[in-house]
Symmetry: C2
Subunit: 418 residues, 2 copies
């Protein structure tokens, strides 16, 4: 079998599985989820052994420290993985929920009802816990899933998928509801995203190369989970202490995630007083600062920001700072250089707040709060498959509801159209 035939066959099996999944009860789905968690715990030693082999190979291959950190599992992280799967079982089930029910003047009774999407392909990078998370969320929403993790995590992912399938077999999960692409090269991604009529949605989670491989070749709908180039704008009306606390939190609390900030824009009217305080605070936290010309006139010991600095997601303790003449200019900068993810204004002026929230074209726009809250759990939506940086179907946190679609069911008594 060629790789092409292999991936097409996976797609066909997934489609068959998705038809069976659509009919299993919420109770059965939750029992399978609990069995997943049990088997993950039971297989902990095997998962950690596989992970150690991945880490060793990664070190030999010269992976960065950040990548190795994302790859690494520990006993506690495996337990947390199982706990996250158990938590999905506890969430309310969106499948079958009635979105709207109405009757037309001609007597037709319409129901708009949530249904599974069908077959979802998830393409991700080094973090092995995504394997368990994605499988759990897709099962909860009765979607068949084809997982394609990064090649660095191949052994870890195989061990996790083995645990999931062992749990599934015990509780009657339809065969092929969860499939895993073993082939390490990008060719497998290209084949997967061309499965028109078999795969209903592809979710790529990752950086530029991965997103490019998907969007250039895809013939099926894609919802990208791409980079977060998030901003805090400090308005002239800002409470300076609040702005400092928000910037410190959004930059330093967990710099390697997509809702951490990468840029700060400061209104020119307060830059001379605010920027030195901010620089002092962040330098003490080990943050490398880069600045535009105006910022460097106030705090000279910053590296000059280049044009690429404005679009780059560092995922690290680096921050680029710019001075802007107005809220309007901040909005324009964010819409031009940002990634439409999460952006915040710190301001007490209502006019400034309104201009910012209305005109910044991002999934989540904050007033006087940290961008770090962009998260399914923090929003109260339950677990999430990731943060969509696209605008269609799902924007921002993509939780259970966003893993469903809808259909119209219409009951009549012989109505015909005149």
């Amino acid at each position: 079998m060629t790789l092409h035939d292999d991936i097409v066959a996976m797609g066909q099996r997934a489609l068959t599985a998705s038809r069976l999944l659509a009919r299993i009860s919420p109770r059965r789905k939750n029992a399978i989820l609990k069995a997943f968690a049990q088997e993950i715990v039971k297989d902990k030693a095997a998962i950690l052994e596989a992970n150690a082999a991945d880490l060793a190979a990664g070190k030999t291959a010269g992976l960065s420290a950040a990548l190795l950190d994302r790859l690494e599992l520990s006993a506690a992280r495996v337990e947390a993985m199982a706990q996250a799967v158990r938590a999905v079982a506890e969430l309310p089930d969106p499948v079958g929920r009635v979105i709207r029910r109405w009757t037309r003047p001609n007597g037709l009774a319409l129901i708009k009802r949530r249904v599974p999407i069908g077959v979802i392909g998830i393409i991700y990078e080094a973090r092995p816990n995504v394997t368990a998370d994605a499988a759990a969320l897709c099962l909860k929403t009765a979607n068949a899933v084809i997982l394609r993790g990064g090649k660095e995590a191949l052994r870890s992912n195989r061990a996790i998928v083995a645990a999931l399938n062992a749990g599934g077999r015990r509780k009657g999960l339809p065969e092929d509801a969860i499939q895993f692409v073993q082939t390490p090269d990008h060719e497998a991604i290209r084949e997967l995203v061309q499965l028109e009529g078999l795969v209903d949605l592809v979710i790529p989670r990752g950086g530029e190369a991965l997103i490019k491989a998907v969007t250039e070749h895809s013939r099926v709908p894609v919802i990208k989970h791409y980079k977060g180039v998030c901003h805090v704008f400090v308005d002239e009306s800002a409470d300076h202490d609040m702005a400092l606390a928000i910037i410190e939190n959004a930059k330093c609390q967990r710099p390697g995630v997509c809702n951490a900030i990468e840029k700060v824009l400061i209104h020119e009217a307060i830059a001379a007083t605010f920027l030195p305080r901010m620089a002092e605070k962040l330098l003490a936290r080990g943050v490398e600062l880069r600045g535009d010309e105006a910022a460097r006139r106030i705090v000279p010991n910053m590296r000059a920001a280049t044009e690429t600095d404005w679009t780059q997601e560092y995922l690290d303790l680096i921050l680029t700072v710019g001075i802007v003449p107005s809220v309007k200019a901040a909005v324009e900068h964010i819409n031009r250089y940002g990634s439409r993810h999460s952006d915040a204004i710190v301001a007490s002026s209502e006019a400034a707040q309104t201009l910012f929230t209305e005109e910044v074209d991002s999934a989540a726009v904050y007033v006087n709060a940290s961008t770090r809250f962009t998260d399914g759990g923090e929003f109260g939506l339950g677990a999430e498959i990731g943060i969509s940086t696209d605008k269609l179907h799902a924007r921002g946190p993509m939780a259970l509801e966003e893993l469903t679609t809808y259909k119209y069911v219409i009951h009549g008594a012989g109505q015909v159209r005149s």
Copy 2:
């Protein structure tokens, strides 16, 4: 300028226009819509003259009668076009509407609010009224639009766009909010669907060649408005007279549209009594019947159906008939050969109805009613840009609400994440 540069420049102008559009008031949008309608009526003679030239060229080029019919405008059709635009002004405006508003335990106040999508590309075929409809719906939802109509209708579309822009200029429509691609060849489509970061959504409305040109090259999100291979299944529990009326309506009332049926499946238990009556009725209406072996044993004067007959959208007075042993078999046939558009069961058995509505994976699933009701107006959703045959973001009738997306606006008082 190359075609590539030309299309990129259109995308950039559209993005600029979309930012301005997002700020204009509902009252202004409705005034512009009314001006569109006025100018269409005022330019009626010019539009009809351009259309006559398109028709003459089409006849010379040997276009089919069906295509010429879709292309042809009359004074009444131009009036109807203007009336449809006026009707859009009367519809409720979805932009800015609050979808949900809630507060988290930490005091963060979240609002999920409808916003315009941004820039939408609409690629369609011969019907020139789509030009006015699409422009009106996109303006109402504050999206900038790039229109690319079929080359057969180029002169008609130019005349309509000239009328729209004349109306827009009178009432302060941002420049480039409505742009029209003049280049007739498919290369322009390929360029348009690669405008990542400029175009937020492409909607192709049309047949196989058009859809293929879009999905093979697109790097931006696509919502396909593809063919309708719609079915009526007549269960053994059906009221025969009701089934006959529904089939006649769904096939004959307007055979050239996507929600007309192309196939009928009949339960084997009633085929011997039902099929002869159906054949008599439809033959009298001039319908050509094709059948599987079992159907031809009952009504021999039908052409034998080939494998392609089951997937073909005739858009004409042709119907293919098959006999199935069960509701389950009907569901499997529809899920295999259908286009996930609209399918109906005629049955009095509740068990049969439920099995059918739960398992047929289509946008609209009917019980005892004609598939011809799949339409934004008939569903009570207002005007529609078309019928999505995709599952993401919009499924079935794509009306004003589906031409919007949402964003989260979050108000805090200095909250940071711990």
